[in-house]
Amino acid sequence: MTYVIAQPCIGVKDGTCIDVCPMDCIHGTDKDEMFYIDPDECIDCGACVPACPVDAVFAESEVPPQWHHFTRMNADYFNGKR
């Protein structure tokens, strides 16, 4: 299980989730339009969920159907980067 950042983060990138993430597993460059959660590092604590001001973070099993593709997007973001 992991947590997933979805559509509402795009263009917002508030970053409060990064302040509370104990694993520092939320990343993003200036060019990225949103932040991403590394599923290999996430420990499923859920701290980022209430911290997000735009409700963009979901448990993997609770991602709304229209945003299911964000689960793959979050994982793919880290392919070849670690």
Partner: protein
């Protein structure tokens, strides 16, 4: 109600039948089987690194013959002396056994009946020299549990989390071994069966037994809280059939303090400690922590530490031995439960003022230095503002019906 002792623990309530827990369901065996992920399993096997303290205290890949815990796992228990000493007065014997336990090295000691609910159903590992193997059912029919606590150093724990707090944590674990072994051996030489349950080798869950034995109460963070040492006690148990008078559970105000304090929940980096009320699990109403996230947080150590002790350090009962601490706890203890809130809230304010909302001290010891290291991100181009734990925000409680938001 005046008086520090009650017959029933206030910090947990039995509401239904409890099933015995299989030791293989406990965190370390689960991690060893890879149930919390391959990464954590691998970490546990190799986390000792080059640190000699970690290696002698039993972490990861140290040489087992340099580690007391591993050596004692191989040592069979001795025979019971056939010449049994008669016990005329269990009360007097309980006094003597507690004195022996303290003489052998325990900081605190209490005695409870051995409740079978707190005996594991099956063992995760066993003493091969005694014919025991993983998965064997446990039959422990002793009548009494002598519960002992071994205190860690208050100041070293304030270096949390670091190699300094790690070293002291490891020492505390290992201090349980010789005393517990010797006390069990002492009782066997008196002619009564006894078994030692200490760090790395045990058939019982020591926390509820210690609560029942009056060593303290169960805190929001799932650990024992002792009135003098807080939660920095390492527990061990000797079970025996030696006739002993048992102690009663104590009331030191944990029920009310944990309701309002929530300092452990605010500071737990992995958000494993609940802000909400108690839950019923396995027939017991208590605060229920998230064991998985608590354990997985060790992966955040970046090689700097192995054991997170932040909740232990932040607990408001965790103070050095001093008259003002005794006065504060006594004032809670001797105040009727319904009025305790009136003194708890000012005391919590003082606690935050003098010891901080996240107790931590910069410390140097040997060649260790717990100064926060800058966090480097290994994702190319990442612009996220990663920060060291000391600079992270404290958690806000999520509102829960009936529980003050603090």
């Amino acid at each position: 109600m005046r008086g520090s002792k009650r017959r029933v623990p206030r910090s947990y309530r039995i509401l239904g039948p409890q099933r015995q827990i299989d030791e293989r369901e406990t965190p370390h065996p689960r991690v060893d089987r890879g149930e919390l992920g391959e990464k954590l399993r691998s970490w546990r096997q190799t986390n000792a690194g080059g640190d000699p303290f970690r290696r002698i205290f039993g972490a990861g890949d140290g040489d087992p013959n340099n580690c007391l815990q591993h050596i004692m796992r191989q040592v069979p228990e001795g025979a019971v002396n056939p010449n049994r000493i008669a016990v005329a007065d269990p009360k007097e014997m309980a006094r003597d056994i507690k004195e022996v336990a303290r003489f052998l090295g325990a900081d605190v000691v209490g005695i409870a009946r051995l409740d079978q609910a707190y005996v594991y159903s099956h063992r995760a590992r066993g003493v091969a020299a005694m014919g025991e193997k993983p998965g064997d059912p446990i039959h422990l029919t002793h009548g009494y549990a002598i519960c002992m606590g071994f205190a860690s150093d208050y100041y070293k724990f304030l270096s949390n989390n670091s190699r300094i707090s790690d070293a002291d944590y490891g020492l505390g674990n290992n201090r349980t071994i010789p005393t517990t072994f010797m006390l069990a051996a002492y009782i066997r030489e008196m002619g009564y069966p006894a078994r030692a349950h200490h760090y790395g080798r045990g058939e019982v869950n020591p926390i509820p037994l210690a609560v029942n034995a009056g060593l303290g109460e169960l805190g929001r963070h799932g650990m024992l809280i002792h009135e003098e040492y807080g939660s920095r006690l390492h527990l061990s148990v000797v079970t025996t059939d030696l006739p002993l008078a048992v102690d009663e559970p104590v009331d030191i105000g944990v029920e009310e303090v944990c309701k309002y304090c929530m300092k452990c929940a605010r500071t737990c980096p992995s958000h494993s400690i609940p802000f909400g009320g108690r839950e019923v699990y396995n027939g017991v109403e208590k605060y229920r922590i998230n064991v998985d996230t608590c354990y997985k947080y060790r992966l955040a150590s970046r090689g700097q530490w192995s054991n997170c002790v932040i909740c232990v350090s932040s607990c408001c009962y965790n103070k050095p031995t001093a008259w003002w601490h005794t006065l504060a706890v006594s004032s809670i203890k001797w105040t009727p439960a319904t009025l305790r809130v009136l003194i708890i809230k000012p005391l919590l304010w003082i606690d935050d003022l003098f010891w901080g909302k996240r107790p931590w001290k910069h410390m140097k010891w040997l060649d260790y230095d717990n100064a926060p290291v800058s966090v480097t991100c290994n994702i190319p181009g990442c612009r996220a503002n990663h920060s060291n734990l000391q600079h992270k925000r404290l958690h806000d409680p999520k509102p829960v019906a009936g529980i003050p938001a603090g």
